[in-house]
Amino acid sequence: MAKEQLVSVKVNGREREAYVEPRLLLVHFIRESLQLTGTHIGCDTSHCGACTVLLNGKTVKSCTMFAVQADGGEILTVEGLMQGANLHPLQEGFRQEHGLQCGFCTPGMLMSSYALLHNNPKPSEEEIRRGISGNLCRCTGYQNIVGAVQYASAKMAEADKAKMAEEVAK
């Protein structure tokens, strides 16, 4: 075993650090060192996307990189989606539109959708389908996941509008 190295990251807004083997995969670091088990592992060839998290604002499949490569970075996992005591509009959308069944792909789907809406707040159905095409789901047939992202997109637009109106009123 090679000498352990210190990895410091900001995860869901909190500074975390741990000594790890240099070859430790980021997904194992998240799941086992940090005990955030919402991020899942569904394959060994980086096809399924269940391990998707955001690193410095961009989606990564956390099974395809080492924890040491994330050193100094900022990570967002499914556990960091809640907005205080409220569900994120995406989480709400997945529930309202029946966008999940077994729940195993859901965290990865949520993170990919989160990045998609961040870059493209009003995606078309085709854009959503392309945006989540790095994530496999065996239960839903994707249709209700598309619906969930559309739900969130509309909710977030509404919230933005309300915020703007509030500012104008000030």
């Binding site: 070859r23 086992e32 060839t45 996992t77 809640m82 529930r95 029946h98 496999l136 239960c139 047939g141």
Partner: protein, 783 residues
Amino acid sequence: MIHKTSPEIGGMGHPIKRKEDLRFIQGKGNYVDDVKLPGMVYGQMVRSPYAHARLKSINAEKAKKLPGVLAVITGEDLAKANLAWMPTLSHDKQMVLATGKVLFQSQEVAFVVAEDRYTAADAAELVEVEYEELPVLVDPHKALEPGAPLLREDREQKDNHIFHWEVGDRQATEQVFQKAPVKTSVHAFFPRCHPAPLETCGCVADFSRATGRLTIYMTSQAPHAHRTVFALVGGIPENNIRVISPDIGGGFGNKVPVYPGYVCAIVASLTLGVPVKWIETRSENLQSTGFARDYHMTAEIAADRDGKMQALRVKTLADHGAFNAAAQPTKFPAGLFSICTGSYEYPTAFCEVDGVYTNKAPGGIAYRCSFRVTEAAYLIERAVDVLALDLKMDPAELRRKNFIPPEKFPYKSSLGWTYDSGSYEPAMNIALEKIGYKELRKEQEEKRKKGELMGIGISSFTEIVGAGPAHSFDILGIKMFDSCEIRIHPTGKAMARMGTKSQGQGHETTYAQIVAQELGIPAADVTIEEGDTDTAPYGLGTYASRSTPTSGAATAVAARKIRDKAKKIAAYLLECNENDLEWEPGKFFVKGSPSTAKTIQEIAFAAYTNIPPGLEAGLEAVDYYDPPNLTFPFGTYVCVVDIDKGTGEVKVRRFIAVDDCGNIINPMIVEGQIHGGLTEGLAIAFMQQIDYDESGNIQGGSFQDYLLPTAVETPHWETDKTCTPSPHHPFGAKGVGESPNVGSPAAFVNAVVDALSHLGVKHIDMPITPWKVWNVLKEKGVA
């Protein structure tokens, strides 16, 4: 008629949001790999690179010397405890770890245990195994030839034949065929595929030396049955085994069998006295755990010139791989394949199946399917289309002419099943109308003139699910009943437990709705728990669309037992005669005086605080439900495809699914099940295959080459329904999870063949890849 409850109660028919979602969308599910126990260590399999080889020696010295390695277990070690082999669910046995020889690539050869995952994987690489290669059999036809290499030397029978099974009247069928004016046949291979739930299989085995108890957290669709298997095979008293099936990341039949990894983790925990986690990788999952299908089928139909079917004859060669580990009821070696007469009235039929061994992974599991029903539905729906081509008849008309008419239900099929209820034509009519069938046929004619390729495929399937009546159905002798226990707490809230186990089907919601329907307690106030054998009543688990037909029925019956007692309590509280009371969901009231009433919550409180003389305290019931018959969901699916002549690529333009699963508990969940099943059907028709080369090397052993559809390849699904309740089920439901996967492959393939039929194409085997289509086009001179 089902009494419609208010949305607040949320009984049958309400599309209420799922209770289980809240933890999943927050990343707070608890799957097996999330279980972390103090002192837990990790197991890793060493697997065979060869498909058939003599095992000369295993040298684990280097592995054992690696710091952190705790044990290396081999087949010889297991043999000392009489555990080198274990029974399968199909009268066969299977090696846990190889002794003597290996019979398929990736077979389990040794189990390494180490302090962490990475060390275990390193150590597995250091185990030196010496093999001597043997001739490999991958073609089941060749496996039956005289002089074929003998695969299973452990058996008394010295050939590769496993079983012959037949049903129906061979002679009468032969006679009809001799005289029939029209005979048609199709050879259809249903390729080997794998359910590939997104979560792989795994477990944490935790044996406590202090208490003598063994707790196994495992990816199990049938925790109670697995507990009994472990007790019988391992000799551990069953009261000292607790199986916990936590959240399961999809099953689709993959998590029904007992796999060597579970057994090895248990042995390791018993040996080391610490918890042992074993989680297979995706590649291990695809390469070694239960495959599905691999049926080489021939169907022949005898018919009149006007298309009236007279007889069906089916002959099938079933490739079971190295061990017959098919997960199915004991008396049915080919599962419920004899549903192959489908939705049609066949006066006479005969069906035979032969099972053989090959050098492939063991299995034959029911992949989103009630035991070989998918193979049967695909075959008959394919054969009917070929008959239509031979007769130059419209495939919809041919079906219409031969459907079992609604007045003949309950219908006794010539292969011995009694269909509970059905009304096939309305479902087909809706599907054809919605898709615009007539217009599409016109469009097709126009397109053909222009040399463009489009096709319309119909599949009017009938399923057989909900195993099953105890007189015929058992697994390892255990009858296939299922169960429910309901407890009403003093404050009127309820807890219910079942012998089944959800893997994403939404049981926590739908079972709560059944309780809500029957007792009027809001579904929100009913907690459902499954998967812990210490607390849930015994049951055979969730597969074969059996949860609603069995445990769902048990839930209704248990709730009705509670209602009977509640009525006695209400009569006591209202100081009236029981016979003067009437029920509406949520309360008993005095006939003619609706305001003189006691709610179920008031009654529950009284059951603990103001107990009527002569009655036991409490408000609980258990029911073990033995279904009187199976249920027979059905539907018609229509698919429209366009084919690119340049590339051979098939694009699904539209797909409409009209399903009839009887009375519906939660329409949102039913629709979700249909979307998911159709997507798996699409995958089977166009993408998924576990193939082998001549040396027995797996093609399709990882997600790199076992293709699953993403959101991009998956079309938009359109759904609709008819409702023909099951006459024998307590609330008329039939089960739905598998219908779309059973019914859709034929719709896709029929559509592709329909697009090419004018070129003389009658059949193409799945998976229909662009390469395959392009070759057909090239051969026909149109590419």
